[in-house]
């Protein structure tokens, strides 16, 4: 029998052998590094993490992170992660992807996952553009923004994912900026520790296709909610803060439910014991008999 020695983890223990293939300067590098640091500080064993992504530049993240991972379908990270968490609630399940993935094609799942309240952390690398498909408008693109698909300017409104999250019943709603990684790390750690669905939207600028919302653009605008004594336990003031956009844009924890709803994976009585994945399967002769008896 091998001796288990408790080793405190470092960020490098969460680096896979694969070098990220994002463009030089991409905001997603910060997101990845910070996630590795946050998991190290929380000392989560690699094999007890499942990182699930969708499709898009940012959704390549499981390949660069040392844990179990599923690089699933475009927009479907949340349902895959939900199924996985329900099947094995002893795992730390993190879903990740981009704004097109989560707020565009995956919008339906996004709302219902928050309403459903599974203990997941959802990281959205929000660059306000479709990157991997080479620069079309996204649900979080600003109105009037010129992109490949909107050469005369975006006629549609800009989605507000944080306001939507609060309205959908999400108990932990935060926004970070990949240009401020120490601040972002705190958000991740708080989100992972939160006993329910936790959203971290991250401004993660696309240096290739979004010439409007650049690192510089965000740096000029972002300010930290903790610096203005925002009370994250207050739903209404949280909602108000999510509506700020323009010259000043807040980052930090907008809302953290002081009395978290019990998450679904704890409410469902079938999950009160050993994870489903580790249970032996099949039914006893007695139970089978009882099932048949209902119809005799």
């Amino acid at each position: 029998m091998a001796m288990t020695i408790a080793v405190s983890k470092e960020a490098k223990h969460y680096k896979s052998e694969i070098t990220p293939d994002w463009c030089p300067g991409c905001g997603d590098y910060g997101v990845l590094t910070v996630l590795q640091r946050a998991c190290a500080e929380l000392n989560i064993p690699n094999h007890e993490i499942l990182l699930v992504s969708g499709i898009g530049c940012s959704s390549n993240i499981p390949g660069f992170f040392k844990s179990y991972g599923v690089h699933s379908l475009h927009g479907r990270a949340l349902p895959v992660a939900t199924g996985a968490k329900l099947a094995n609630h002893s795992m730390t399940v993190i879903a990740a992807g981009g704004d097109g993935d989560g707020y565009g094609i995956g919008q339906g799942h996004f709302i219902h996952a928050m309403r459903r309240n599974i203990d997941l952390t959802y990281i959205v690398m929000n660059n306000e553009i479709y990157g991997l498909t080479t620069g079309q408008t996204s649900p979080t693109s600003e109105t009037n923004m010129k992109t490949k698909s909107t050469p005369f300017g975006n006629l549609e409104g800009q989605l507000n994912p944080l306001a939507l999250a609060i309205a959908a019943g999400c108990g932990f709603v935060a926004r970070g900026f990949s240009g401020d990684i120490n601040h972002l790390k705190t958000l991740y750690m708080e989100a992972i520790k939160y006993p329910g669905f936790a959203l971290v939207d991250v401004f993660s600028p696309c240096v290739t296709f979004n010439k409007q919302n650049t690192f510089g653009w965000f740096k000029e605008r972002v300010y930290k909610l903790e610096d203005v004594n925002h009370d994250a336990s207050q739903l209404h003031s949280a909602m108000e803060k999510t509506l700020e956009w323009g010259a000043k844009i807040p980052i930090g924890i907008f809302y953290k439910n002081p009395n978290p709803r019990v998450s679904l994976d704890r409410l469902d009585s079938t999950l009160s014991g050993k994870p489903l994945a580790y249970q032996s399967i099949g039914v006893s002769k007695e139970i089978r008999k009882k099932l048949i008896e209902e119809y005799v």
């Binding site: 091998a2 694969i18 293939d21 064993p45 690699n46 094999h47 007890e48 499942l50 990182l51 699930v52 499709i55 390549n60 499981p62 390949g63 040392k66 844990s67 179990y68 991972g69 599923v70 690089h71 699933s72 379908l73 479907r76 349902p79 895959v80 992660a81 939900t82 199924g83 996985a84 968490k85 329900l86 099947a87 094995n88 002893s90 795992m91 339906g108 799942h109 709302i111 219902h112 459903r116 469902d268 009585s269 079938t270 999950l271 994870p275 489903l276 994945a277 580790y278 249970q279 399967i281 099949g282 039914v283 139970i287 089978r288 008999k289 099932l291 048949i292 119809y295 005799v296």
Partner: protein, 610 residues
Amino acid sequence: MKNELTIGIGGAAGDGVASAGNTLAQSMARLGLYVYAYNSYQSVIRGGHSYLRLRISAQKPLNHGNQINGLVALNQDTLNRHLPELLAGGICIYNNDKLKPEKAPPGVQLCPLPIYELAGSTALPVMQNTVAIGALIQLMGLEFQALESVFQNVFAKKPQVVAINVSAAKAGFDYALKHFKPFSEKLYKTNNRLALVTGNELLGMGAAVAGCKFYVAYPMSPASGVLHWMAPHAKELGICVRQVEDEISVINMAIGAAHMGVRSICATSGGGFALMTEALGMAGIIETPVVAINVMRGGPSTGLPTKTEQADLNQAIGASQGDYPRIIMAPISISDCFVSVQEAFNFAEQFQCPVIILSELLLSEGNETVNVEFLEQEIKIERGELITPENSTMGKTYLRYLDTPSGVSPRAIPGTPDHLYVSATDEHDEDGVIISDVYTDPVIRKKMADKRARKMQGILQKISKPSLEGSNEAEVTIIGWGSTWGVIKEAAEQLTQEGIKTNHLHFKYLVPFHVKEVLDILKKSKKTVIVEMNQSGQFARHLSAETGFRAHAHIRKYDGEPYEPKHIINGIKQILSQGKEIVEVLSTEPGWRTPHPPGPGVFTQAARIN
């Protein structure tokens, strides 16, 4: 004579057709009599015309038969429609206080029941059903006790309701004894221990005994019955049951759970299945064992939500982009649903691929009595090569997608130490690293595509080969797939009895396909006729695509109502005598049809009916 009676019960939705039918069918099952029941209904909660046909016999009926011996009319409309259908020697039971029959066909006995007198003038309208079933049991020559025990069971928590029903039923029973002549054909009780079940219930129960731990669904007729079985059993069986936002979420959650090592299944109908298809391809490339049931109904689009059809074969074969191994099977009877779902889990886990079960409204919502011994049979749970925290050995390099001769790679479930990997929907190498972005390699691509495809060879060896039923020397070979097994079997037997020697080749496993074995059979067949329930001959094309074989003739039905033996018998006769290549069967009896409502069209009502 086969000692068999076929009973029709009809009324508007909300009249209690289904519950009267259940009471009758359960009573029969308790007497050891086999029942096959088909309910023809529409997508309305109240109104319309709902018609249940129960075939009852001491030998197992395989379909709902051709015509009725007995009719229980719960409203005037039913009386008008179905009275002319009764066979000579038949019996028609109705509420004499409310309904007035037209002239009965020759040899048919009208049995008016004075419901107010028998059930009391303050009785609820549904009590007419109870009185009628009581009378029917008497006329069938059966004991009252069985019916009484059914009421005791159904209303176990309400002794008063039991008493009211028993006394109403007894009043009907006694009244019939005094006033009417029983059927000349008598039914006798047997010692068979029978369970009365639907295909959906058996899909649920079969999944449970196979060790299913995760069921996820979005409501859709006619698949919701599986959800309705799973939800109340979830707690007791430790199955996590969730209803979620759409079928895309359904299949992705099912795959997420299956990926973690849990036996996971979902059921839907064609429209929901269409939404699931992209994710089935994901299960194919990340090699996750998942079972998806498509309970087919009339299509396309919303189509016929409450009617049966076999028109989703193309969709199942074409589900998702790209090539990937999959298994498609179509249960051939209601009881086969129980076996199919257990096999599906074993195949899915052994070969780490999606399994599609094509059930059908006819099977999923139809009722059949099944011998209890059949349900007690244990099918061994086979999970394939699975690495878990309990059995894992550490220290070796682990390749999740190891290229093996069988194409199957040992599967470590997440949570197992020292076996980390990422499952990607992008093409990937044996270690899971994707080759679609910076790294690329045509050689690896081909290697991995071939590895997955090899699994189909192993599957083919596991699934049983189709075989001929009936004599090898036959004039006609009827070919069918899925739900039509029972009706074709009966038609073939009857044709043979009438002097047209007919045998039957039936397909349950559709993909992969036993090409050589099937060709060996078909090459020796004199006249081949494919019977299926769709317009375009989806199975005929599939057979031709797999084998190059083209059948001589086809019988098709796509009007929503299932085949009756007479349809196939007449079809074969037309093919033989008139040389027809395609016979399209249509159910035109008034019992299956309700009139078009007055509407904005230019046609008159009369023109529409035609």
